[in-house]
Subunit: 395 residues, 4 copies
């Protein structure tokens, strides 16, 4: 069985998730298409890098990502760093002929994403963007229903991603609130996951009409450099503050190329919503509803059920649903965040092993950046913005 050496750039929260997936993927999907080997992890200083290797099970560590990218032993580069570093690393990795998986959003904007896409196409390597949520088995089941025609032609899509970890004005000004590092705010961080759902499940988005708001205009400056999401204690009132220059909330209407319409909303100011990533899809013959907070479940209603027994079914994913053969032996044993990453890793290594296209890839990442840019432009201008369709989005 083929082994592929991974060089992972970044050792934070996402590094943990990816490492678990590298360790666990063959346990779930066996025979594995290829065995991921945790070869080298990179972090910003010696101590962090050494610690990350020990913690995450990598054989080696480094503080020099360029060296790792160019290490001939490495087959796959995994980019789990802040958004502003993705392009440089990915382009270098492509030039070095490495397959690449890059955290989302792909880039700080469409222009940068286009360069990355051109680099991987020129290099002929496999490329993946880590919109892992579409790999939740319940989301994959929704995709299957739609492809099988079980809810008919899709009419409308309503997607949300609501969180509250930064709803407190005293939560720190991490890199996620700084445009130069993050590119955008709720839009890029979480809204793009909904855009990925919309494209995956419904079709290409052609037009957007959006509003953005920054509800908390300034936040306490973060002293430690590390992104800790909601785990950081709120700053005291004495801590100096600086301006937030990205969106806290984005709302957009969307039009799809197949005639469907919809809305997307992403906010980090929704008290009580933790990871409320949802979609509701109305088709001519049925409806779907999904909420990641209850991710083992897909709700589906079929129009042709008898009138006295019609209603949303709560289907728990398991052995009979997508990826079920490899996962847990009965439904509701429990899909966690880890499992979404394990499935993502499986599909990526399968694509590498079988020389097929992984999706979502840099094509998709680029298209999503185009959509995100259009959303920001629309919000600024207060009008509909049309999106250039640049690439056939593999699904």
């Amino acid at each position: 069985m083929k082994k592929l050496n991974v060089g992972m750039i970044g050792g934070g929260f996402m590094g943990k998730a990816h490492s678990l997936a590298y360790a666990g993927m063959p346990m779930f999907f066996w025979p594995a298409p290829a065995i991921p080997h945790r070869h080298t992890v990179v972090d910003v200083n010696e101590q962090l890098a050494k610690d990350a290797a020990a913690r995450l099970g990598f054989d080696n560590y480094s503080t020099d990502w360029r060296a790792v990218v160019n290490d001939p032993e490495i087959d796959v580069i995994d980019i789990v760093t802040p958004n502003n570093t993705h392009a440089e690393i990915a382009i270098a990795a492509a030039k070095a002929g490495k397959h690449i998986i890059c955290e989302k959003p792909l880039a700080l904007g469409a222009e940068q994403a286009k360069e990355m896409l051109e680099a991987v196409k020129a290099a002929g390597v496999k490329h993946a963007v880590a919109f892992n949520y579409r790999r939740t088995p319940a989301v994959a089941l929704a995709k299957k229903y739609i492809e099988d025609g079980r809810i008919g032609k899709v009419l409308s899509f309503r997607g949300t991603y609501l969180q509250d970890w930064s709803a407190d004005p005293n939560s720190p000004l991490s890199w996620r609130f700084q445009k130069k590092i993050a590119g955008s705010g709720a839009l890029g961080d979480i809204g793009t996951h909904v855009v990925d759902f919309a494209r995956y499940l419904v079709g290409e988005i052609t037009d957007v009409n959006a509003m953005t708001r920054t509800w908390i205009p300034e936040r306490p400056i973060q002293t430690g450099g590390i992104d800790k999401l909601g785990t950081v204690k709120s700053g005291s009132n004495d801590v100096p503050k600086a301006a937030v220059d990205v969106d806290d909330e984005v709302i957009t209407m969307v039009k799809f190329d197949n005639g469907a319409i919809g809305t997307i909303e992403a906010t980090r100011n929704a008290w009580g919503r933790n990871n409320f990533l949802t979609f509701e899809i109305h088709g001519e013959k049925g409806s779907l509803y999904f909420n990641y907070e209850r991710r083992d479940e897909l709700q589906v209603c079929f129009a042709d059920d008898p009138s006295d027994a019609k209603g949303f079914r709560t289907v728990y994913t398991g052995p009979a649903t997508p990826y079920g053969e490899g996962l847990w032996p009965i439904p509701a044993l429990g899909i966690g965040y880890g499992e979404t990453k394990i499935i993502e890793t499986y599909d990526l290594f399968k694509a590498i092993a079988e020389d097929t296209e992984f999706s979502p890839n840099f094509n998709d990442g680029y298209q999503i950046e185009l959509i995100a840019d259009a959303i920001l432009e629309s919000a600024e201008k207060g009008q509909w913005v049309n999106i250039e369709k640049t690439a056939v989005a593999a699904k």
Copy 2:
């Protein structure tokens, strides 16, 4: 105790609901502000009118609404007829000095609504539009929380009204699908309830940006004249069809005068959603969620709850919440459609008895028509439309 004679124009589904409220209101709210007496009911022919009187408990019946409107014994005119007849009846009733409750939407459009408003203002009578859903105790509780500052300044509002009773292309072309009778489709029929929620709970809507769609372009012509909503059997394929000229679905973004933003969606093509009238409100200090399908409950999250016990509370309305003294003695004994109408009747008769303003009244009805017209204009033009604020909306 004062008795007020009601003349009810229309004896269909809404007539049933209002009649139950007239009978039941004093049973729940005692001493009643005034006793509604079911004096005369009007329907389109002798048989229907006679039947309605017997069924709904009216002393008299008539086929001549003008006679009833001008009957000196009548104190209150209740208009429960299709939308296109509201204006003529209401204006005549106002001229005759009667208090008026009119089903929603108030009119076929803002122009007509304005005439109605001017008529009632000139006459000095009490006027009410029957957006009864805001009288669900859980909605009134949401209002109370907001007024008491318990969720802080409102940032965003997301409201939906999703149904499926006409999602079948063979469901008949009732008056609700004809512009000349209904004025608009999902927008006027159900979307205006969400607009009423938005204005009641958040504030005045200043701008809209909308899309509408007619998913089912033609429907079987209805032979019987009566509106039966979902109870009508689907037509066979042999029945001749005619065009639908109103919207099946409307989506709009909204801006409020206090800086909040939001979305409203109404559709009758959402399989599995029966009466899915919902709102989610995010404030600086908390959030609210309501779904009329589970109308005994309000979900509320308070930001200042301890971190290990924070989350949406499911509060069942009862004696401790608004209108609770008059309703059932313990929570979850059961609020149905009837109770919303009983509360509406209570508030209206109290306003009459105490000579105060009922809300929502024709001011509100007119403002909602302005918003609805702006939504249609926005959908047609594909751009933001600003709404003239014409009246101080009593709440």
Copy 3:
């Protein structure tokens, strides 16, 4: 259309509910089998009785229930008084040849219930016990599924009735906590509703094995004589207390004559449960779940659904489900407590008009008293108790 004069003994909370049903029944079910006419209401003193008549829409009032029971104009006696008075009134009414509807539980125990049953049988009148919850449309739908074989042979039943209105030790010692008036505590007040569900949906209960507990051994003595359930403010610590001599909680295992098994739990000490009347039924071919707090819904799972679309369906009752023709025109418009009483009234007046048996009747009420007595005996002895089957339970 035939009119039947009702004499209602009692003007409290249940009197309100029944009065609404008398007024509303023909509005919903038309042509009505017979028109209930609110003839005379009885209460304990002149002022209360007069007030009740005005409030509840009765033509006359009285403080002398015997006179009303013997009034030749009266056709139906409705008993909505505390449990200890049921027998005397019902037996007198039977002797006077009146049809009878009596609130639950039928009596203070089986012996008393037997006398009542014998009286109505001797008199040949119609008799009903007001276990109204089985008339929730979703419960009637469950019954239909079971009768149609859609979940196969029933294996197990789990029913609960959980409340919290008296979970506070300072809530007053109303008649519901006094054995001489109530007969038993949670068992009679709410547990019998679950017993009614069990018999209605599964079959006759043959054996019970129970535990009871009185969690709050004494409560503040109530100064006003009226039963107010949860609306009464907690007594202060100064109020003298007296002993509670009934159960706060009862748990029982049950065996059915058809081989099914189950559990029943009733408690008034379940903080956060308001009217949590539920059942879960497992059959060979499917399952059912119902929770009255969300009473518009029945959950049903069919074993023969395809493996990738199997799960509980949330069916909202409406026009396509039992009683739907008469109720509201679309699902989820809203079933409240009132509707359950309206349906009960419809079925009772239909039984009177058509001279058929209403169910649950005094046979059922007696059988339920036998079961309740057996539960108390079992709890005391700590062993299984077999229940004599005394009558064919009409369903």
Copy 4:
């Protein structure tokens, strides 16, 4: 950092789960108390063992569990084999001085469990029984609430474990339906998890009163020897069948030493329930509800909340709740089955490193076997059975 070598006996579904936990634990809990090293895995034949090593990341494999148990390099023996083999392996491992984690239920009955307990006590090794569900963060949060007195004295407990993977009469006769291998049926397989919850959250169980049923008396003989739970396709009607000699369903009433009462139900014949492991706990000052199918959530109601904002809170576990520092950075990112095993591994390796007691250990496993034996005895005799308290249950 100390490394502990694990010898795992068994390479099936549970082996996968444990292996993921060995790989992932240090990624989540860092610095780890000790690093689990996957040293050797044992399976029934060379091919399976070799495959398991490759798949699950063990350095070595073997078909000789005795050799592994006695391998001086091994520190911890992990027993993930069918129930009938636990005792022999565990006793041998104890004699060899190895720390032991054994899958639940501990043994085929109390007698066997007692021998195992005596062996580990004599050897002075650490011992654990893998009732992993109590390590769901939401269950640990429930424990914390109770210990902190936030719901007051516990009055009643209602626990269920409902599944449907073997509700089909054609699902195969795996070892789980054979008494000589499994000891009991639903009781041992899933009911003991509820017993573990009851003891963990409420206190020691002193008395039980139970019923058991075998709903499907015979099942198709399984040709492959491997336990696949629900993944096995239903047998055809041609396959020969053999008798099931264990329970499909068990219901028991329980009494606790602190005065609380309750019920426990476990069944594998509940269509639509997949892994419906729930508890509801009523205390004097609040209530708790947990459903593993929605395991990120704990429902809690506090009696002292204001009357207009009282109700169950849906708390999503995360950084602010037990184990939160080590898990995912925001609530609802997703707890799966894997995380429960990762936490279990963390606590076990911490107990080993710090020389403290792990719980639940063989004391608990033995006590649970006593309770399970009492349940079977009670079901057979039809009466209450008292349980000897044999050991102080560490919690």
